[in-house]
């Protein structure tokens, strides 16, 4: 599926859209980490929880669990919240 990478994570991918595979959000993030080592830990902590301020959307719906199912035709949008000075 196509995955939109937010600008803070583009040093890993060098581009805004990438392709990744997986039947769940967690599996897609695993595939991203295989392609771009280190990117997953910036979004998912060592207790397997999504980090605050990193949001995931498919078809306009927010995903909050790594176990959320995904379809190959989905587009996953990863959004990085920014705040403060």
């Amino acid at each position: 599926m196509k995955v939109l990478i937010p600008s803070p994570l583009r040093p890993y991918t060098q581009r805004s859209w990438v392709e990744a595979e997986g039947s769940t959000l967690g599996a897609v993030l695993d595939d991203l980490d295989r392609q771009f080592p280190g990117i997953r830990f910036r979004m998912v902590n060592e207790q397997e929880a999504l980090r605050p301020h990193v949001r995931f959307f498919v078809k306009g719906e927010a995903l909050f669990r790594l176990s959320e199912p995904l379809q190959p035709t989905d587009e996953l949008l990863i959004v990085q919240a920014l705040s403060g000075g």
Binding site: P8, G38, M43, N45, E46, E48, A49, H53, L82, S83
Partner: protein, 398 residues
């Protein structure tokens, strides 16, 4: 705002000739870690001009940037961004290129998913000369980690990260500093790599004599905030601990509750800050020791009254030096602003080089970098307009 600066006291810069030591011409590399990136300043042989290299990691929070003294070219940077997870970067060419750690410091995964999470790596310490590639890291919340491969992969080190007693002593996030509780001041005894110390804010000073297999508190003599019980390790808040390289049995400590010295094998810290001027007090974050004279140490006090402004007392910053192991202190403010300077420095943001006379360096919360070429007698601002400075290290290059 225009500010006045103090002049040096005539003759005050002279130090005893006995301390003169022959040193090869070396250059100082300053490693400046800030809230929004890192800078390297390359000094000339006289430490008078500085070539600026940076920013590195612009926009990243860099808590510590350290050069490996064992090879003189490997740098480690502890970084995170405002909202992404923490990591460590390694450079093996003194900052020309950087590579992210394959496995940054992270706590063990708990079966119920409720384990602790590293917010940021705060402190980096290279291992001893006899163990090339070994590094130690302290994190927020308090955790101790080790790398055996030059900072590429990190693992939890010792029992403390999961020890129920240590977890209790670390307290909750609410017990920590506003930016999170921290494990810092990881010190390896230069005579014996199995002899180690670290500090926790909060959670006290701790020592291991078996290479980190076990640690035990070392807090006797340290005060805690009025009304609390010093027997409770949680209440102890060492801000910065330094071992004297010329006399490794001597430690100095800047604590939330004053300045202390410890001469081993004693286990009782001596409150040497009591001889500081009462109007200034002995609260601060940083502690710097002389590379060759264990009786000499420097602090930069901050205002710890009422709501703890944590600014220069009275808006008049000054370094204080002791030349007699804490019996007396002298104010060193020549060249520093005389009024309306409300910055302070954080615990990693003051350091010394090993030249003779010793060069001192500190970075302010307002983004200024100051230095003294004569052990604090005269101060000069060598960089302005940087982001808030978190850490300054001085490395010696051949």
């Amino acid at each position: 705002m225009a500010t006045k600066t103090r002049k040096a006291v005539p003759g005050a810069a002279k130090r005893p000739a006995a301390r003169k030591v022959p040193v090869k011409p070396r250059r100082v590399l300053l490693l400046v870690a800030t809230r929004k990136g890192a800078w390297l300043l390359h000094g000339d042989a006289a430490r008078r001009s500085w070539r600026v290299d940076g920013p590195h990691f612009l926009g990243h929070i860099v808590n510590h940037l350290v050069l490996d003294p064992r090879d003189g070219r490997t740098l480690l940077a502890a970084t995170k961004t405002g909202h992404l997870g923490p990591t460590v970067f390694q450079s093996t060419d003194r900052g020309r290129t950087w590579k992210e750690a394959a496995r940054p410091p992270a706590f063990a995964k708990a079966a119920d998913g409720k384990g602790r999470v590293v917010d940021h790596t705060f402190w980096l310490t290279p291992g001893p000369a006899s163990e090339p590639g070994v590094w130690y890291a302290g994190t927020s919340p308090q955790g101790l980690f080790r790398s055996d491969d030059g900072g590429v992969t990190w693992s939890p080190f010792s029992h403390i990260n999961d020890d129920p007693k240590y977890i209790e002593w670390m307290g909750s996030v609410q017990d920590g500093t506003p930016d999170g509780p921290k494990l810092h001041s990881i010190i390896i005894d230069p005579r014996d790599p199995k002899h180690m110390y670290f500090g926790m804010s909060g959670g006290g000073v701790h020592e291991s004599v078996d290479g980190g297999k076990t640690f035990a508190p070392l807090v006797d003599g340290m005060q805690v905030v009025e009304g609390f019980d010093p027997a409770v390790i949680t209440f102890h808040d060492p801000h910065c601990v330094r071992l004297c390289p010329s006399q490794p049995d001597r430690l100095y400590q800047q604590n939330h509750c004053g300045i202390y010295r410890l001469d081993r094998p004693s286990r009782t810290w001596v409150h040497i800050g009591q001889s500081m001027p009462k109007k200034v007090g002995d609260v601060g974050f940083t502690m710097v020791v002389h590379p060759r004279d264990a009786d000499t140490a420097w602090v930069l006090p901050m205002d710890g009254q009422t709501v703890w402004p944590r600014t220069s007392p009275g808006g008049r910053p000054a370094v204080y030096v002791t030349r007699n192991a804490g019996k007396t202190w002298q104010r060193l403010d020549a060249g520093l602003p005389m009024e309306q300077a409300w910055w302070t420095i954080k615990r990693q943001a003051m350091t010394a080089d090993a030249r003779d006379p010793v060069g001192l360096y500190f970075g302010t919360t307002s983004g200024e970098l100051w230095m003294s070429r004569d052990e604090g007698q005269r101060w000069t601002c060598i960089a302005r307009h940087l982001p808030e400075i978190y850490a300054v290290e001085a490395a010696e290059l051949a």
